[in-house]
């Protein structure tokens, strides 16, 4: 005869992350996430265009402050995120495993995610030196080109690997001073949403990173068309989505970055060009005289 459990476990409610808070979706709609045997793991928010809009407002509001934060500070905050993730390593491994990832792969992905944060933490105060230039113009002017963040970046994160893919796209964007709205993996969203809790505990100012869960088919057009988004980074979709994103992006000459075939577990995903993708080049002239 079965006996009642000593204690009923408390299930976690997965919410979205906007402006440093954890609201439920305003749509009131949810998506069921099952384990590999088909049993319900959790419900996640099926974010709406209004959730996205709110997230963009938060990201825009946070933009000037984050862009102005010193490179040293951005690096330290990225490092802090890594520390917090390391501290909750077991939780994330368990979450990935629950979603069907093997034990070894789950451990590797969490480790890679932590290491990737460290990698970009280190870049925060260096990419500028690598990509900037003092330009030897012929006239009596001092002329230099520096990188500046594009502003608000909308990211369609890769479905797989859910955590590592999200971290690999968030880290370079914020290392470069952008604020962002990311749509988490559709198939492996749980660890991504939990990652928002790590961010929340890591001195990342409210609004700098906003994370939604939901359906790409519903949200991608809004990510691409929103007139206050400066760039869209798209890690999913075929030619059709690419056309849709680029067509809508043209309305405000949004920059589009496609990272479709990237193997996020590969060392090739470790490079500062991922930061540069969401940077503008600004050139300044000044006379040299007495």
């Amino acid at each position: 005869m079965a006996t009642a459990a000593d204690r009923v476990p408390v299930a976690k409610t997965y919410k979205i992350y906007i402006d440093g808070k954890f609201p439920r979706t305003e749509s009131g709609r949810y998506l069921a996430i099952n384990d590999k045997r088909g049993a319900l793991l959790a419900n996640v928010c099926r974010s709406s265009r209004k959730d996205f809009r709110n997230a963009v407002v938060a990201a825009r509001k946070a933009q000037p402050g984050w862009a102005k934060a010193s490179a040293y500070l951005r690096g330290q905050i990225l490092y802090r995120i890594a520390e917090m993730l390391e501290g909750r390593r077991e939780q994330f491994v368990a979450e990935l495993r629950a979603g069907g990832v093997t034990a070894k792969a789950a451990e590797q992905d969490v480790d890679r995610s932590i290491d990737r944060l460290i990698y970009f933490a280190g870049w925060a105060d260096k990419y500028q030196q690598v990509f900037s230039a003092v330009n030897p113009v012929s006239s009596s002017h001092f002329n230099f080109s520096v990188l500046e963040p594009m502003g608000v970046v909308a990211i369609i994160a890769p479905d797989e690997p859910g955590l590592l893919g999200l971290v690999s796209n968030i880290a370079p964007a914020i290392a470069g001073g952008n604020t962002l709205v990311a749509l988490a993996s559709e198939t492996e969203p749980l660890s991504a949403i939990s990652f928002a809790e790590v961010l929340h505990a890591s001195d990342v100012p409210a609004g700098v990173v906003n994370i939604l869960s939901g359906l790409k088919s519903e949200l991608i057009e809004h990510f691409a068309s929103h007139m206050d988004v400066n760039a869209v980074v798209c890690c999913e979709g075929g030619r059709k989505q690419r056309r849709q994103v680029q067509t809508l992006a043209a309305e405000n000459v949004k920059r589009t970055v496609f990272r479709i075939d990237t193997d996020w577990r590969d060392a090739g995903a470790l490079n500062p060009y991922l930061i540069r993708d969401t940077q503008e080049v600004k050139t300044t002239w000044h006379p040299i005289g007495v």
Partner: protein
């Protein structure tokens, strides 16, 4: 608003130096390059060359000057190149105070002005009393224009009130003679200081402001002259009083002088395009202008051997 009527009461008080605008050297160079890219040809060149002749203060300021030399210079001033009829005469001859009487005698019966440097020219390193005596002596000997030097040492030391008061005093000593105030821009070094010194001089009552003594390099440049012209324009806008301009030293060929005229026209407009308001302080410019005029008339390039030196 001030008026232009009373020269003796030209001082308008110590200027508010905090309102003197800064000057950007590279921007000035670019503007000057635009003047220099003007192409002055044919009739407008002839008109310019004659205008330049009429604006020249024919100058000799040397320790070796003698009455003989000064008389020769005056002869040249009267007879620039008699082979070419219809030429204007120069505006003035410019000499040391002890040569003024000689020049006055030599120029009798012409309306060529006599300008004299004074105030312990060229350094200005003397007492105010001596400078005033120097000025009075030149005026009494017959100079109608006095070219004074400012105390650059005091200016560079920030003693702007001293510099101002000195100009006011010399102006008073000038009586009816016009006062040209030499800033010696080559010792001021920066365009910001040139602008500031121009303001001081005009506010203290200068009738003209002048770049240089000719004894310090660089002497006149288009850059410093532009800054001084702009100061004159702004002074005119705020007081209604016209002040004249005299670049001196280093303007030895006609082409450069034409560029100065272009700069004058495009900065201050037509009203300043007369010897009353613009002078070239020069010794060898006149002959180059004459050679250019001859070339324009004959189409043949000229030799200096055909134009009298003094």
């Amino acid at each position: 608003m001030g008026t232009n009527a009373n020269r003796a009461d030209a001082a308008v008080g110590f200027p508010d130096l905090s309102r003197v605008p800064p000057v950007d050297e590279v921007g000035v160079n670019e503007r000057v390059a635009r003047f220099q890219s003007r192409s002055i040809k044919k009739a407008s060149k002839v008109e310019a060359l004659k205008c330049i002749l009429s604006m020249i203060d024919l100058t000799t300021l040397e320790g070796q000057d003698t009455p003989g030399k000064v008389r020769q210079l005056c002869q040249k001033a009267i007879h620039l190149h008699d082979a070419m009829p219809g030429l204007p005469h120069v505006a003035a001859v410019c000499v040391y105070p002890n040569m003024v009487a000689v020049a006055k005698e030599a120029l009798r019966g012409t309306d060529i002005n006599i300008a004299s440097v004074a105030t312990a020219f060229p350094s200005g390193m003397s007492s105010l009393d001596l400078k005033l005596d120097d000025t009075r002596m030149a005026v009494e000997a017959g100079a109608s224009e006095i070219d004074m030097v400012i105390s650059r040492g005091a200016f560079l030391a920030g003693e702007y009130r001293y510099v101002f008061d000195e100009i006011v005093a010399v102006k008073e000593a000038c009586g009816d003679a016009h006062l040209k105030v030499i800033l010696e821009t080559g010792e001021l070094r920066t365009l910001d200081r040139v602008r500031r010194a121009s303001e001081l001089a005009m506010h203290a009552g200068a009738d003209f402001i002048k770049t240089s003594t000719g004894k310090i390099q660089p002497a006149a440049t288009m850059q410093v002259t532009l800054v001084m012209l702009q100061a004159i324009r702004d002074f005119f806008a705020s007081t209604g009083r016209m002040v004249g301009m005299k670049p001196a030293g280093g303007i030895s060929n006609a082409k450069l002088a034409i560029h100065y005229l272009v700069m004058l026209k495009e900065t201050l407009g037509n009203a300043w395009m007369t010897p009353e308001w613009f002078r070239f302080g020069a010794s060898s410019l006149a002959n180059d202008v004459l050679m250019q005029l001859e070339k324009q008339a004959t189409g043949v390039y000229q030799s200096a051997d055909y134009f009298s030196k003094d």
